[in-house]
Symmetry: D2
Subunit: 352 residues, 4 copies
């Protein structure tokens, strides 16, 4: 950590800061430049981070500059090899591109079954579908809840697709865990810390969406809550951030995907549906996500988007999804196989 | 609601949209301009909003334009007179400016008592202090929890100041309600809908912070969850939004305060501490908040900011807070009285 | 155009708006819904756009909602087939991916010649290099000016690469046009309207960068200035927008590339160097840009980035660029050929 | 300057960086912490800033952290006392609040004369009005140009109000200088460096608006171009930045006003009209600007906003402006006097 003093900081202010650094059991290295005095802090700065950062409030201090990354367990400095997360036999973060597809909301048994069969046939690996829906307005459809969870579980078994669904509240974690193979933390809950702490104690893998206002570092620190709490099976999901551009629902930050893969060993997938909010852009943006290095995609698909109870405008219909899968397979010089692997429920993309 | 067709929309696409509108029990009014066909929807569009909005996914549709505001109960269209929220005798939203002050985190009985006495003496009306702290990093101080709640309750009684504190999780609502006069929903939880639904059923007034990525409409819709669920005692709190500017912690959106007072009957207060992240800017920004029409302020105060376990750099020290209160009183041509009102615990700002 | 009245608009306010619409030679279609009265404007709304939009200031008006796109000549509604821009024999917007590469600033004859030879050998089609540099600080290197233009022209001839360089001021347009094959409008000048009007009168093709705060519509309207003024040879360049994320220099908006290709017939290229500001992210982001449908790339390359006078951290070195070109060629299932086409100075990417 | 090495930087990489620092004539101070090696650079880092910053591109370097502010002449470190800018007798930056008012565009002699008389009577100090208008669309009204300048000059003389108007292009500087007392650099031109360099050589004071995507530091560096080029008479103008919030035209950043007054000795005024884009919000936001410490206001006023050729929705009408001036005077415990000072053309706000 470095403490930069103001241009006109007085000697006793410098002395006071040094004293406080020593109180924390660290050493202070003084460096006087032409314009500023900078005090380097050496020692166990991590443990005393809070106290040292509070020195920004001490008289004469202009800035406190952290040197170490704020995250640990999620960092590639901590773990060199890539994490591969196993979702009931589907491996996210390995060589294969993993596609999770399904409707925004589970609306009926028929709707989720029809969608699941179609996305399976097209090569998808995991079924998505919302049971508990976080909706901006209290008057919007809030999801079928437990009924939807039961449909998802049944349809996952019928189609041999693992299931991912969002969990909104700590009190639902157990129930959702019983019905789904992977639990999603939505963008609005990325910094719902009680929920993260609860999920850190489940055996289920977690899909952690980036909040619309989260920097890459804040996102990784949210993942750190999960790892630090005991759950190493975390998949990150970029789904667009909030910017001044309103033509798309959010602004997809694909450079962040490449960056996170430099900074962290965790797998990263991309949600082009929420990122753009426009069905017509989903295929091109999906291909870009694959090209930038994403480990997978999360795509909204509905048998009849114009009758969807939520997110219709950004949902692909069934033929549109099949076409996208075809173009992704072409791009990777292979095809998504629809056979079932022994001991698993997954489709595989293999070079022909 | 208006449905704008694409420039090259075909007749059968227009006919299909009209049919769907009629299915929803509404009437369609067709208007053919030089460049576009627009279909007006008349009837109970509110109830069928989801279905009508999904028509954006229908072939040939370019845009669906809502006409009504998405919120109802929070709107001034719904209720003309201003809401005044009573917090154990302190009225927010009336003629008086209400100042809530205290440390970011409750760190010890001594710290919160010393702060409470000082802010009371300076004219503050409500004591703030964090018991459960939402922290970006899992390694940061997470608050003293129940112990802090007990200190707050005791110190509130000693100093006759009502207490506001943040509640992070539905499972804590009951306990926090027993110890505090007002419950705060933090910026990161503004769209934690299970929490909002739970808080809608408490008798306690709610302080609802704007999320760093929330538009004014999303913020009002979060409040709508509380009112629709049965709790009319909601105070909104602007605390800055996330923008590209990094010199301040957030960008305080004071025009939004004036705008919300046009759109809604709910009181609005401002948090200059989180908005700026810099102690030196807090006084000027507080005065601006008062001038723009805020009903109150939420200010972080610590006896020794450089030793604060959280948010030291943005906390005023005790003399700094007294000085700010003095300048606010001057600005309003009066002074904050420190006498206790019969049957209440509040300071009053009165013209001399 | 649609004019939405306030909930409590009075009859005479509605009548006044209708009268003003008729004054503009248009017809008003009144539609009274449950919550709002909406007045549709039919007729030559385009010509009277300014007057009609000003009605937002009339009493009782809540919103003026435009129906037509604000741009015309750049729109695909206006021209269905894609524009291909010819830059001295290199065609941008056709089937081939066009790569423009070179240093941020021309620093010496030797530096630009070495770079040009290397990027040509690696398969680049156009040479980029800054002569006049827009720098945030007046104390930064401002470019070699005319000297740099001469180097560019000479080196372009030696290596048979067309040259693109930025023009900052109307008074430089003639001189820059004499030395370069394509003129770049930098992000900071996207709304420098006198410059756009001057460039609309040159025979040179224009590379128009998106401003860091420009919406897609504002960007297209800037291009509209060029087309309306007489220059149809415009290539758009996405280079990242300003957001709260600071880990990357800007936030690259690749969905905007796909969107612009829907809205407009103009070619779009991507600048991954300015978008990310980090050399290590350039290759992955370049591949994503190609996958999303960009017609070309603009890449900063320097023989020794750590000695670059500007933008070193985001510049590829020569072997790094060659490696990127190799991976792009692989991705497209072909290779960039280094032979010269008869009558042109360009490299070609062809399927093998 | 500090150079932070990567966690796994090798010894020879550290040695290489030290060598490069010494090549620049500076000394390197090595500090090895638990997690990172940091190299402090001492000496004339300012002159070698470009070379030192380029070391971010050297192998093993993770970050280059500047210590000094990037600006000099505009800084309060450089000049302690506040700058007061004299605009033909009106002093901006002193104790008086200066109000500049007038229409967005000069539309006719009659319109500007009527407005000027009214704003003068209400207490305004400077007349504003656009002659050359930067418009997002080429089809919008672009201003009356020279004719408008002549009206402004004549009306300024009749009403004894100094005149401020925007200059868009270097080639217009001379002509605009002959007709106006102060030259405005619009938000879109804040980083039009040829224009800034040209304006640095005029004797006229400059009103420099913040660009919608400019950080406070970039804004101050734009002012640095003016001061470094020889023009010390610069007034900064905050007019809102571009954010995700679309209810207001921009997001007014009032904390930036307080911050700039800490960092710089230059006066700062606020433009509530462009910041909000909504007439109804202008009065409250103007009062907030005064309370935060702005030295003045720039307000759009039109005799008939609904017929304005530009920016009608954000323009006050004449009685609305008079009312605002009254409320500002009340707030400051005085009144704006309409008498003319000897030797000057200005109104004065004095305590009664």
């Amino acid at each position: 950590m470095l403490i930069k003093m103001m241009a006109r900081a007085e000697e006793e202010q410098v002395a006071h800061v040094i004293e406080r650094i020593q109180e924390c059991g660290c050493q202070a290295h003084l460096s006087r430049g032409v314009e500023r005095t900078v005090i380097g802090v050496v020692g166990n700065t991590y443990e005393h981070r809070n106290e040292l950062e509070a020195l920004l409030a001490a008289p004469g201090v202009e800035e406190v500059i952290p040197i170490a990354h704020p995250f640990k367990l999620v960092s590639r400095d901590f773990r060199q090899e890539r994490t591969v997360v196993d979702v009931s036999g589907v491996r996210i973060g390995g060589d294969e591109l993993v596609v999770m597809a399904g409707p925004c909301s589970v609306e009926s048994r028929e709707q989720i079954l029809e969608t699941a069969r179609a996305v399976k046939a097209a090569g998808a690996h995991i079924l998505r579908g919302g049971a508990y829906k976080p909706r901006t307005s209290p008057y919007d459809f809030q999801g079928l809840g437990l009924q939807a969870l039961k449909f998802l579980k049944e349809v996952g078994e019928i189609t041999k697709l693992p299931v991912v669904t969002e969990v909104l509240a700590t009190e639902d974690v157990e129930q959702v865990s019983e019905h789904a193979d992977m639990l999603q933390v939505g963008a609005r809950n990325m910094q719902n810390f009680p929920l993260l702490r609860r999920l850190a104690r489940t055996p289920r893998p977690i899909l952690l969406k980036r909040a619309p206002s989260a920097t890459v570092k804040e996102w990784l620190l949210a993942a750190e809550y999960l790892l630090a709490g005991g759950n190493p099976n975390v998949v990150l999901c970029e789904r667009g951030i909030k910017t001044f551009e309103t033509e798309t629902r959010n602004t997809l930050d694909l450079a962040a995907v490449a960056l996170v893969k430099e900074l962290s060993h965790l797998p990263v997938v991309v949600d082009p549906s929420h990122a753009t909010g426009r069905r017509s852009l989903v295929p091109a943006v999906s291909r870009a996500a694959v090209a930038v290095g994403a480990d997978g995609l999360l795509i909204e698909v509905h048998p009849c988007p114009e009758r969807a109870l939520s997110d219709g405008p950004q949902s692909l219909d069934l033929p549109g999804f099949a076409q996208l899968m075809h173009s992704l397979a072409e791009m990777r010089g292979g095809a998504f196989q629809t056979r079932d692997r022994p001991g698993s429920k997954a489709n595989v993309l293999e070079a022909e």
